[in-house]
Symmetry: C2
Subunit: 299 residues, 2 copies
Amino acid sequence: MDPHLLRTFVAVLDHRSFSGAAASLGYTQSAVSQHIAALEADLGSRLVERRPVAPTPAGARLLEHAPALLLRLDAARADIARLHQARPTHLTLAASPAALGPTVARALAELRATAHALDVEVRVLGREAVLSDVVGGRADLGFVDGAAAPSDPLPMPDLGPTTTLAAAEETLAVLFPLGHPLAGRRTVRLTDLAQAQWIDAPDTAVPLDRLRTVCRTDGFRPWIRHRGTDLHGLAALAAAGHGLAALPLPVAAALPGIAAVPVSEPRLVHRIELVHPVNPTAPARQLADLIGGRAGSRA
Amino acid sequence: MDPHLLRTFVAVLDHRSFSGAAASLGYTQSAVSQHIAALEADLGSRLVERRPVAPTPAGARLLEHAPALLLRLDAARADIARLHQARPTHLTLAASPAALGPTVARALAELRATAHALDVEVRVLGREAVLSDVVGGRADLGFVDGAAAPSDPLPMPDLGPTTTLAAAEETLAVLFPLGHPLAGRRTVRLTDLAQAQWIDAPDTAVPLDRLRTVCRTDGFRPWIRHRGTDLHGLAALAAAGHGLAALPLPVAAALPGIAAVPVSEPRLVHRIELVHPVNPTAPARQLADLIGGRAGSRA
DNA sequence: ATACCTTACGTGGACCGTAAGTATC
DNA sequence: GATACTTACGGTCCACGTAAGGTAT
């Protein structure tokens, strides 16, 4: 179970092709074939079905472990790298789009007021990409958003040694096109909207499966899919009536062409969590302290 | 970062010796030296201080990742192995000593009444060993005990894909020697005992650092150390006045030579959690269902 | 017929053991 | 000076690329 073999295993199933995986990893098809054969021999099970390429049951099990293993391997390397290349004038943030609201912006402004000559970079990414950037050392600090019951934590995948901190709780809102019958309402009940047409925008809005979980329903079925992390594109879709989406009120209220209506039932908040490694860089720690001092922390 | 290198890295720091690690792994000292050198070259940091052998700061970071990585590697292998060697008439349980109380015993008896010819093996181990046996496929089901606030989960290290279930909540008790001034009390307050002499028996009783956490104090200092998983040995130490220990009341009450006094403050329970892989064997699933049906489950 | 994966084979490098070297107690 | 880790060196095995061989669409 060499990590290289696991990496090509994951790549093969990502690309659904041996040759595609080979190209993306800089191997020949032959090498990829040999990697998969070696893994299958080692584990004593066929892992990949060929033609078409798909995981067998055993392969599916391995797929539950392999990405986490590779991520953690990167995390270990990044943790050690951070020890001798701490650049105190650089700060790289990774954030999901809806996490970049007034709370984070204000704290960042406050930090820059005290620390001049701070070189800040912000990367807007999907949720898993934010976490993998933080864990892999490509970002000093991450902000991830989601919906949850008040003061409940967001569910986080296994991250290894990191620190998580509640950064903000905001009102959750639903985006309606301006002419929509509910667009004028002061509040809406999310459960009433379970059967509506929704935009499946897992990296920008609150993911639909998350809405299903917190509302304990199997509604919120996707009507149109939105990939990427573009809030205005999402707003344009919503404005044109392609479906509904859930966002934090402070972010939603600033979007053009739509009406943002707060959610009253069930009692939910839009929550932003800050994630940083256990040995953060100096500016990352300062920003975390600024936000933590305001919002209260948890392990 | 080959897993073999990580394994010898962990072994070297466990043994605090290159030659010791070599002996335990079946390598020569030379190979171990080369492994560490390869790791250090790969990560660009000295990881191990020699003479005496100890982790450098970078090595300490790696030590936070390496055991979890190796455990998860075993878990992946075990998950796949379980797919084609499910033996429906065997059931191997792993449990920490204080988890093997009446709740588990009764459920097991109930299972054996319905499933005849079931070949049961019980392994009593320390907490981490229980988890690593379950995750590594050496046990079908694990029971881990600990102290927590009522209906709070026990803190679990990263286990990868497993299912955890609250198996029982019992009264927490403190063991006193029979002549002790507090031995006759109906209840005691744990916070009053923070400065007492305690037995440090992390694999048998509730670990002292756990008591410190739930009581939010830095008391509960170890007075004598107890290694292994022997409840009667622990009771003998307590009976002879070598220190106090915390155990679940149903278990403590059955021990000879000591007085078991329930804890009234802070509000704590002794909790037992059941851990099993996501694809359990048939008997393991039956036992988990028996216990889950009685105690209520959680993700 | 043609992608696409597998197998055969040769070379270069990685890994381990033996043995000599070096540093620390 | 003894113990314990490091370095040098050689043999073996493994992993990759090239190229030929299957196989299913």
